[in-house]
């Protein structure tokens, strides 16, 4: 216990210090973790040593969680929209890079298996670094940004078959069991079954996963959600991921593949955003731990001895990958500067390389020495990426180029939507249907799990979730959305929520439904920019109907309603300033009502009210008519 706590302190302290510093310097959190690992590792401070490998194995569970989250984000619809870029660019990038790197390996005298394995591994780029960097600079919507995202997505998917293929490239038959990774595991109970039975068990397990994921899991989550206990929900989410991993290991399948599948199955369920934000911190921490462990295991003595080789490898890797990407960009008819951005952005190795490298060594696919060199190469190539992007911005994107020229409307590749609607009762769902009918896609969050269930059966995109959680809003797309519409009707909750949103997502414009005048005052006081009273328009409609039934012509009644509305809106703003002061509010309100009555009431001659005075020919008759009719009657 003591040792564990000491180690935990060292790791956490390193992360807490290094990550903010690295982010400050524009390097991103992944590099921060790596640097932290280097610093506490044997080469510098020596706080951690031999147990680094064990930590890495434990932390690989972060990768399993990451794939679960990747799966959750992969809605079938999104996949379909990106199918061209995914299959075309992504497939060619992985195949082309694997071939190029493999050929180079063979040329330098590696056995072909080792060369091919290295090629497949090094084809991966860094999702974490690239997405982070492109988002930070607002380049996600550019041509290069979109294509990069598609390629990264394909790579994420390709990891799974690569995990399956790597053991086949082993130098010596049957290595040690690999945690986190794929392939056959020593402990699996299917080990001694004949081949066909093993296949049956595997298919059965996957079918079980999909079936249970479709039916039992959502039902169970609905039950838990009804209890509204946040920790229980988190525990259930963790249980789900770990359960899948265990099941997969039991039948000898890759836990990463299993959780990924589980994620995809749940991607269309209403719990998608809730699950994502529950798993996210665990995933983040474990991945961070994983990167630290990678940093700590970079073999600096080795790099020192083979400095030339490592630098050559880094330069070779970046050049080869960039060349393949540039050629693909040319084929896809991208503009010249966008092509360069695309090539530079994805030219590094990625976090999956570390996973695959450690997996490959355990399975004796790569000799320790080669793997050690490659870990250092990948880490250095990742470190270069932010610098390459800065260079691109400085030297290529100078002429206000296509990067900033992203003005043309474009589907958001993230599959997230410009509008988030919180609360989907009668009010929210009318707003939502109106926006949908006008081609605006919305993401809807609601806390009533029964209602969510019903609405989803009607085919609406509604998610269960508590919008007061910043992480949940984030995974619902608050970073990229433009508007957030609060329709819950609970003024107090909306005020708190509005404050949080303004703090965490200052770019979001807030629209809120106010219940009644006091609700409107309170929201105006909370500086919500667009407050709409829930019953004003419908009440006026009813009023128009009533006046009409009393014999007033429809247009006249309608004009009167418009006038009433304008006046009422104006006084609402005034009254909102004083509503906490009872006396002041009362006297101002009385005055407002008097004003309104005056401006509404038609004058004594029975003409139209003052605002529509121009429609009243009375004064014309007075000036131009020989005998004003008012005199006669």
């Amino acid at each position: 216990m003591q040792a564990f706590l000491v180690a935990a302190t060292v790791y956490l302290a390193a992360a807490v210090v290094a990550v903010p510093v690295a982010k400050r310097m524009g390097l991103g959190s992944v590099l921060g973790y790596l640097i932290a690992g280097v610093v506490i590792g044997p080469s510098v401070l020596g706080f951690v040593g031999a147990e680094g490998q064990d930590v890495m194995h434990a932390a690989e569970f972060g990768v399993v969680m990451m794939l679960f989250v990747v799966g959750l984000e992969l809605e079938p619809a999104l996949l379909w929209r990106l199918r061209g870029a995914l299959a075309g660019l992504g497939g060619l990038q992985v195949a082309g890079t694997a071939a190029a790197v493999g050929a180079a390996g063979v040329a330098f005298g590696l056995p072909w298996r080792t060369a091919l394995a290295s090629g497949l591994i090094l084809a991966m780029s860094s999702t974490a670094i690239v997405l982070q960097s492109l988002q930070e600079r607002g380049w996600m919507k550019t041509d290069a940004g979109q294509k990069s995202f598609a390629v990264l997505l394909f790579q994420d998917l390709a990891v799974i078959p690569i995990l399956a293929v790597l053991p086949l490239l082993a130098l010596a038959p049957e290595g040690a069991a690999a945690p986190g990774g794929g392939g056959s595991h020593g402990g699996a109970f299917v080990e001694h079954l004949p081949g066909w039975q093993r296949a049956l068990v595997t298919i059965g397990a996957v079918a079980l996963l999909v079936g249970v994921g479709r039916s039992v899991v959502p039902a169970a989550f609905r039950l838990i959600a009804r209890a509204r206990l946040r920790e229980t929900f988190t525990a259930a989410a963790l249980l789900l991921v770990i359960g899948i991993a265990v099941l997969m290991q039991f039948v000898g399948l890759s836990p990463a593949l299993g959780t990924f599948l589980g994620g995809v199955v749940l991607a269309t369920s209403e719990f998608r955003h809730e699950l994502e934000s529950d798993i996210e911190p665990f995933k983040g921490l474990l991945l961070g731990l994983f990167f630290i462990a990678v940093g700590a295991s970079i073999d600096f003595p080795l790099i020192g001895r083979e400095l030339g080789t490592v630098l050559g490898l880094v330069a070779g890797l970046v050049l080869l990958k960039a060349a393949v990407l540039y050629a693909l960009g040319t084929g896809a008819r991208m503009g010249r500067d966008q092509r360069l951005l695309f090539a530079l952005a994805l030219a590094q190795g990625g976090e999956f390389c570390f996973v695959l490298l450690s997996f490959a060594t355990q399975n004796r696919v790569l000799p320790e020495r080669v793997a050690g060199l490659l870990v250092a190469t990948v880490a250095l190539s990742m470190a270069m990426t932010p610098l390459l992007l800065v260079a691109w911005e400085r030297f290529v994107a100078t002429r206000a180029s296509s990067a900033t020229d992203a003005g043309r409307p474009h589907d958001d590749v993230h599959g997230e939507h410009a509008v988030i609607i919180v609360g989907f009762g009668d009010f929210g769902s009318t707003v939502g249907r109106y926006l949908n009918a006008n081609g605006v896609d919305t993401t809807v969050l609601d806390l009533d799990s029964d209602r969510v269930d019903v609405l989803r059966r009607l085919g609406l995109r509604v998610f269960y979730g508590d919008a007061s959680r910043e992480d949940l809003l984030r995974s619902a797309g608050a970073d990229t959305a433009k508007l957030i519409i609060l329709t819950s009707g609970d003024t107090e909750a909306m005020r708190t929520l509005a404050g949080r949103i303004r703090h965490a997502f200052p770019h979001l414009t807030i629209l809120a439904r106010a219940s009644g005048r006091v609700g409107a005052y309170e929201l105006i006081e909370a500086e919500v920019p667009h407050v709409v009273r829930e019953s004003l328009d419908s009440a006026l409609h009813l009023g128009v109907e009533a006046l009409h039934l009393l014999g007033v012509r429809r247009h006249e009644a309608w004009r009167a309603a418009q006038r009433f509305r304008r006046h009422d809106d104006a006084t609402l703003r005034e009254l909102a300033k004083v509503f906490r002061d009872r006396a002041a509010h009362l006297s101002l309100a009385r005055e407002a009502i008097r004003d309104l009555e005056q401006s509404m009431r038609a004058d004594a001659t029975g003409g139209v009210p003052p605002d529509d005075g121009a429609w009243d020919p009375e004064s014309l008759r007075a000036e131009f008519g020989a005998r004003p009719p008012s005199a006669t009657g």
């Binding site: 004009r559 418009q562 006038r563 304008r566 605002d611 529509d612 005075g613 121009a614 429609w615 004064s619 014309l620 000036e623």
Partner: protein
């Protein structure tokens, strides 16, 4: 220097080519107030006091719109009906607009040949604008020769750019001219 108010009326700006280019060419000119009527009053609920105050604060009023059924789009008519009140804009007491210039800037699908005596449409643009001109004169304003962009259905991108530039030059001319502002009364 004259203060120029552009009253812009187009009910379907999204599909517009010509009026949009014209609007873009003048919207941000210094000395110009650009007032988009269909944006301000989607429900035709014209705010009369605000409109009257705005008119009072300018020397030149430009009425920019596409020609619809040989006339102005309906919101312009609603605006005329409600804003030009007897006793304010006309009549023995109504002198608020006296001496101001009103400049129509319209676009029309028909070409110049399609207008005039004996033409396809039978009457000239000036004849079709007679109600507007009479309104302007009744309000004691000065009627300027209308700025017209004719034959919009056949215009290419270059033609539209050229027309918008001519329009912007006209507006800029008003902003820079002192004669208009001084010429009141």
């Amino acid at each position: 220097m004259s203060r120029v108010l552009i009253l812009f009326a187009h009910p379907a700006l999204r599909t517009s080519r010509v009026q949009r280019a014209m609007a873009d060419a003048v919207r941000d000119l210094p000395g110009v107030t650009f007032h988009d009527l269909y944006e301000a009053y989607p429900d035709f609920d014209v705010d009369v006091p605000a409109e009257q105050a705005r008119l009072s604060a300018h020397d030149v009023i430009v009425l920019q719109h596409p020609l619809y059924w040989y006339s102005v789009p309906p919101l312009v008519k609603q605006w005329f009906d409600l804003v030009l009140e007897h006793g304010w804009a006309y009549g023995s007491q109504g002198r608020a607009l006296e001496g101001k210039v009103l400049q129509v800037a319209l676009s029309a699908g028909g070409r110049a040949q399609a207008y005039g005596p004996g033409s396809f449409n039978g009457y000239s643009i000036a004849q079709f604008l007679a109600p507007v001109e009479a309104t302007v004169r009744l309000c004691r304003m000065r009627w300027a020769e209308p700025f017209t962009v004719m034959g919009t259905h056949m215009m290419g991108a270059a033609d539209i750019r050229e027309a918008a530039a001519r329009y912007a030059a006209l507006v800029r001319g008003y902003v820079e001219s002192d004669a208009v502002a001084a010429g009141g009364r």
